[in-house]
Amino acid sequence: MTMSNRRNFIRSSLGGSLLYSGIATDLLARQEADALAPRGAHFPGRAKKVIFVFFSGGVSHVDSFDPKPALYCDHGKQLSLDHPETRGRGGYEKLFLKRPNWTFKPRGKSGIEVSDLFPHIGAQIDQCALIRSMHTSHSNHFNATLGMHTGSFAFSRPSIGSWVSYGLGTENSNLPSFMVLAPQMPYAGTQVWASDFLPGAHQGTRVQGGDTPIANIKPSLSIDQQRREIDALTAIDALHGAGRSDAPFLAARTRSFRTAFGMESALPEAMDLTQESAETKQLYGIERPEARTFGQLCLTARRLVERGVRFVELIHTGSSGNWDSHGNMADHGTLAGQSDQPVAGLIADLARRGMLDDVLVVWTSEFGRTPFNNTAENPGREHHNWAFSSFLAGAGVRKGYVHGNSDEYGVRAVEKPVHVHDFHATILHLMGFDHEKLTYRHAGRDYRLTDIAGNVVRDVLA
């Protein structure tokens, strides 16, 4: 076959020449099923969007949200426990109660006691349903972090954000449905926001901040040049797509470039805080150097949900330099300085904009910290999964309410205990899902976020 014969042959085999324009628009007009198309819940849910604030490392409940007067008076009293973090550990043969480093005060109209560690959040406590009876299945960061995000304490499973994205789709096709604002990598790495067996569109898109908040978002070409290339691509793909309508992914792929092109401007726009007033920034504590980073993330989270992102997760620090204050509880103070006002500012800002009507704010850590240590004077606290505190605020959540309690020292969740599975079931309920029915068939089994457990905590519902 000569060169020219071959050329003719290939040309005829491809169906001859077609005009540049026209076809592309026809093809693109054709909408096929989209993994992220907005979908319905099981029943009308109060919450349409979620901001999930995760404090990494284990926030001490007895120093923050769970007042235990007995800890002050019984400081130094010995107690005997078969605790996962001290069992068989040298130097931990004896355990002693240890008084909190911060004092508690009633806050707001509800008079819920919050310590001086979180005065700003304390000022917003009337918006919140505070759960003082949380407990979880593992006392290790990796596993507890995985559990708090996926309901599984060992295996990789879809993240709660992926489940919500899968259940509800997105409202803005120019932005991912599930975004994670995490400058540092958390425990368990990318598994924290993985979609696992759910379709990849539901995977969390991690925003690291800085010049390239997500991979390849920064245009490598001028906008004009990029638009010209995408136009050419669209035309080329339209030629290719003619006679290939049997493969809808081809048109979907071409369209994804338009979306990505939109994202290149939509994401920087969403993250551009210069559009916010000085007063708003002040609300988030952004003018304070120590609170700047997290304040900016919290404000960005508001802007993302405003623009239709379904699930935004904020992670306060990563797998190190975090709330894991074994050495000295004073570190909690430093970390609260970075994070208290931003979280409180977020709640206040959402409230005044009326956004708490359909945005659910979740605040939690992977577990709490021991109300005791091997000496009462040990300045730190160890991991504690038997009791800790978390709170919900916003859409459909009962305001200014305390749910459950731990025992007199904060050791065990004794009154209306809420396991992580119950917590997840409740969040899904607020979004309009029956957690037992939000399932996905994988490897011959129907999987769900709550594994085979979970009860909706009805008391926290408004």
Binding site: R6, I10, R11, S13, S17, L19, N140, F142, N143, A154, S156, P176, M185, Y187, A188, G189, Q191, A194, D196, P199, G200, A201, I214, A215, N216, P219, S220, Q225, Q226, R228, E229, A232, L233, A235, I236, D237, L239, H240, G241, S245, D246, A247, F249, L250, A252, R253, S256, F257, T259, A260, M263, E264, S319, N328, D331, P379, G380, A443, G444, R445
Partner: protein, 976 residues
């Protein structure tokens, strides 16, 4: 009633389902029957079976069958016939507090309680025992289940290619037929990607299109099957199933530096067309087969068991969570070889398939009797139990010799216990705190009188415990009498610090400078450090842990390590839990002035340091000379130890399993390892053989391997030919390719499946010949065609489905088309040396190593997925992946728009194309290199609009936009 098949030892494997049944005699229609039917059955149905029936088995208990209450729940039988008072059920309904009250919410009426009591008293007659079940199926159902039947030998319904004959018959029945054959261009591109994962080269396409002989296609297929790229492509399919990874997946994601040998073994096995039965056997029991194998095959067989060894590890201390690793291995083994979800039976009998918890633990025992290599984890960082490959015996002997001397040294060192030294009660001369990033002069107001043996002790401790406490120290001691000597910590020690602790000013002079760990009793820092972090001239001492420590930057320039260490400076670093001490032991009585500087050298560490200077009485330093002598000895031992370690040979190791201590495992109730149930003998699942491992043969892996690889096994060949079919056509004949059980889909063409399986078995399990058979069918060669409403899902294969390239194909194609693909096989990844590992969950292993080898050779990490592989739906290395997703998301588009690797590849392609003579030839070449065809006129006119108008020849930069568009286009990213 539960099968008891465990008393038969394995002889010749017989795959008819062996089910020992003891069907209860039919019940008599007597009074007891009436009582049961009228009172008990309705009562149980109303109050109990919701939670204790087919849907849920709370507490492990079922009450929907006699066998359920006989066996009972987690706490034993639910009732004892004739003994209501000893029956847990009665205590529960009476709510007497001895067991959990049942039903949880509704209290039974007294009449109902009475009825139950009478029933139990009368012997608990229960006719609901007709359906004997095995896991989630009735025994009869399991016997009839399609995938457990022996592989039949169906006759193709017509002449011609047998594959086509079966397919055509079903198409005809719907009035359908195959599409006409694809164009030669499309077909070569399809089969080349399919068999090798790479695009054809322009030359290959040209040669193929020019080949007019009738067997041109067959020759091309042979060429592709013979290329190494075949094994790299199809080996990757297998690695998906084997959930291959280069890290362990526990909380710190420890590297597996030897796992690559298994990866390469898989690739090599595909390339050498190792018969699949041998391939299966080797992966389960290669080490045992190696014992009798020819020398040249031994290493490969051992390496093959990497299939089991790379099972994921879990948690902080992986040794304590091996039950999860065994589950993962059982599940992977079951799904991969048998298409059975065996892992589902860990906590309860399988809900749908005939697999019991006993079956699960009979396999569990086999794995527990196997030694898995230990990759290291946060709790125990030292890896162990790697398998030494044959041919390394001498190195191993040498390393053993060295190891035993090292043990001797360690024992000797352990005997040399340091005497206790207390330096705490000195007289305070000065103290201070130094804020983060600041410094302070060390001053003592008046001269200090030192007696011989007294010590000036400078102790530096952390303020809080951030650890970033590098502290620069100057410490000068000047005698007031100018005739007497002076000392200066920095000048005295900077060039000799690592040579001793204590250390003198120069050789032979008294050793005045001492460096202590003051966390509890004073200890001399015991480890000499040279070139810390690989920085030449950064030397010092540390305790057995990293801190406390002292060090010097002895070089004339600044060193960046931990923080910025200026030239010619001395540093001390306390531990988070205590002080580091610098002691000056007076060698003569003298009166001295003390001065110095304490500077926090790690600004931004968020805290500073505190210091004290004390005068320690001579009585407290008496033991120091003895201590130093001991230190000398220890240093010598340590030097020898270091030398031995350096000389220790590095034998070839495999991340592979070996035989452990054979023992049967106990059932773990509800999957909880601490709740032990009865011990079950090691053996094979009841549905396949029900045989137990005979005593004295080891773990049972060899028997398991032989069972799986037997030509009579109903699943192994069926499952594999179905996978091969799936990888060729996009869907399997059974579309759930790892589930041939009740929750899976039935085969669309059962006879074809059996015919292929039989062909495969009878053809000595050759995969290459199976590929050839399939890809030479008309079904495979047909065009894509339109979607037919009679078969919208293309179950009948009346068309060939287009597909997107996989992650590996995208990257490999970009490398090849841009001319930089490195065709060499990958070996070990450039992991940091094992002795430098210290991964924690706070700082886990994380790296991306990039090169230009094929993607199959790139490092696969478990806890942080490779960003490119994650973006384009690469396999999940945490679980067996039978098929890839092919998502289309905008973040993928961003890769093509902005990724530096993509842009660099496009530029290289543009460079290659720009060599052509003029702009049209350049565009032709660009198309030819990337799509192996010339552009259509319409395409040419579109892409030319991206070039400067009127140019007759383009440079690479001007051609790059064209290259980007072509490499982004659907024509490139999809296969017809």
């Amino acid at each position: 009633m539960i099968m008891s098949c465990n008393n038969k030892h394995m002889k010749h494997t017989n795959f008819a389902i062996i089910l020992a049944l003891a069907i209860y005699p039919c019940s008599r229609a007597d009074e007891r029957d009436n009582h049961f039917e009228s009172r008990i059955r309705p009562l149980l149905a109303k109050h109990c079976i919701g939670c204790h029936g087919p849907e849920k088995q709370k507490g492990g208990l079922r009450l929907d069958d006699k066998s359920g209450w006989t066996k009972g729940g987690d706490t034993g039988p639910a009732l004892l016939p004739g003994k209501p008072d000893s029956s847990a059920l009665m205590h529960a309904v009476k709510r007497d507090g001895s067991v959990a009250a049942m039903p949880p919410k509704q209290v039974l009426s007294p009449a109902e309680i009475q009825a139950l009591e009478r029933w139990i008293l009368d012997g608990a007659h229960d006719p609901r025992n007709q359906v004997a079940s095995l896991g989630g199926m009735s025994v009869e159902g399991a016997k009839r289940w399609w995938s457990f039947q022996p592989v039949s030998k169906p006759t193709p319904p017509e002449n011609g290619h047998p594959v086509d004959a079966f397919l055509k018959a079903k198409l005809k029945a719907k009035g359908m037929a195959f599409q006409k054959t694809s164009t030669p261009h499309d077909l070569l591109r399809r089969v080349t990607y399919d068999l090798t994962g790479l695009p054809p080269t322009a030359e290959e396409m040209e040669a193929y299109l020019a080949d007019t002989t009738p067997n041109a296609y067959g020759k091309a297929v042979d060429r592709l099957l013979a290329s190494n790229a075949y094994g790299e492509r199809w080996g990757r399919h297998w690695l998906d199933l084997a959930r291959y990874a280069d890290t362990a997946g526990e909380n710190t994601d420890h590297p597996l530096p030897h796992a690559w040998r298994y990866r390469n073994w898989v690739i090599d096995s595909f390339n050498s067309d190792m018969p699949f039965d041998q391939f299966v056997k080797a992966q389960v029991a290669g080490d045992l087969l190696a014992e009798k194998a020819p020398e040249k095959d031994k290493a490969g067989l051992i390496v093959a068991t990497g299939f089991l060894a790379v099972a994921r590890r879990f948690d902080h201390d992986t040794d304590k969570h091996m039950h999860l690793t065994f589950e993962e291995a059982i599940d992977t083994l079951g799904r991969t070889f048998m298409g059975m979800s065996l892992g589902c039976a860990r906590c309860h009998d399988h809900k749908y398939d005939p697999i019991t918890t006993s079956d699960y633990y009979s396999l569990y025992g086999i794995l527990e009797s196997t030694r898995f290599p230990f990759p290291g984890c946060e709790a125990k960082m030292q890896p162990r139990d790697m398998v030494i490959l044959p041919g390394n015996e001498q190195q191993v002997a040498e390393s053993h010799r060295i190891d035993s001397r090292i043990s001797q040294i360690d024992a000797e060192k352990a005997r040399l216990k340091q005497p206790i030294i207390q330096l705490k009660d000195g007289k305070l001369l000065a103290r201070g705190t130094v804020a983060d990033g600041s410094n302070q002069a060390l001053t003592v107001e008046s001269p200090v009188t030192l007696k011989l043996g007294e010590m000036l002790l400078l102790a530096i401790s952390p303020l809080t415990n951030h650890g970033a406490d590098s502290t620069r120290v100057e410490f000068k001691i000047k005698a007031t009498d100018p005739a007497q000597p002076s000392w200066d910590l920095k000048n005295d020690t900077i060039d000799i610090l690592h040579t001793g602790n204590p250390v003198g000013v120069r050789k032979g002079s008294p050793r005045v400078w001492h460096f202590f760990d003051l966390q509890k009793d004073a200890k001399l820092l015991s480890k000499s450090l040279v070139n810390i972090l690989g920085k030449p001239g950064l030397n010092g001492w540390q305790s057995e842990a990293d801190t406390p420590s002292v060090m010097v930057n002895s070089t004339p320039s600044e060193i960046k390590a931990f923080t910025s260490l200026p030239a010619r400076t001395f540093f001390a670093h306390p531990s988070p839990n205590g002080a580091v001490g610098i002691g000056f032991l007076a060698p003569v009585a003298c009166q001295v002035n003390v001065s110095g500087i304490i500077a926090d050298a790690h600004p931004g560490g968020t805290d500073g340091v505190a210091y004290t200077l004390t005068l320690v009485p001579a009585s407290a330093t008496e033991n120091l000379p003895a201590l130093s002598e001991q230190r000398e000895l220890v240093s010598r031992l340590e030097a020898e130890r270091a030398q031995l370690l350096a000389k220790r040979p590095n034998p070839d190791l495999a991340f592979a399993v070996a035989e452990g201590k054979p023992a049967d495992a106990a059932i773990q109730i509800r999957g909880e390892p601490e709740k032990k149930g009865p011990v079950v003998p090691r053996g094979m699942p009841t549905l396949l053989a029900g045989t137990t491992v005979p005593p004295g043969v080891g773990s049972g892996r060899l028997e398991l391997a032989q069972l799986l690889a037997s030509p009579n096994h109903p699943l192994t060949a069926r499952v594999m030919v179905n996978r091969v079919w799936q990888y060729h056509f996009g869907n399997g004949i059974v579309r759930t390719s790892s589930d041939f059980g009740a929750r899976g889909l039935p085969p669309t063409h059962p006879e074809l499946l059996d015919w292929l399986a039989r062909y495969f078995i009878d053809d000595n399990f050759s995969l290459k010949r199976l590929h050839k058979l399939i890809v030479t069918s008309a079904a495979y060669q047909q065009g894509n065609g339109p979607i037919d409403d009679r078969d919208p899902d293309n179950q009948l294969l009346g068309r060939f489905a287009r597909r997107r390239l996989s992650a590996e194909e995208i990257r490999d194609s970009l490398l090849r088309i841009s001319g930089v693909l490195d065709r060499s096989a990958g070996t070990q990844h450039p992991f940091p040396p094992e002795n430098t590992w210290g991964f924690t969950q706070h700082n886990p292993f994380a790296a991306v190593y990039d090169n230009n080898q094929r993607t199959v050779y790139q490092m696969v990490t478990r806890n942080r997925r490779h960003p490119f592989l994650a973006l384009f739906d690469g396999a999940d290395p945490n679980t067996t992946t039978p098929d890839r997703q092919a998502t289309t998301v905008p973040t993928q588009a961003l890769f093509f728009m902005n990724d530096p690797f993509f842009h660099a590849s496009a530029l290289k392609l543009a460079q290659r194309a720009s060599e052509a003579a003029d702009v049209n030839a350049q565009i032709d070449k660009l198309y030819s290199l990337s799509l192996q065809r010339l552009p259509l006129d319409a395409e040419r006119s579109i892409v030319l609009q991206l070039a400067p108008t009127g140019a007759t020849r383009l440079d690479a930069a001007s051609l790059a936009p064209v290259a980007r568009v072509v490499l982004t286009s659907n024509a490139f990213l999809s296969v017809d």
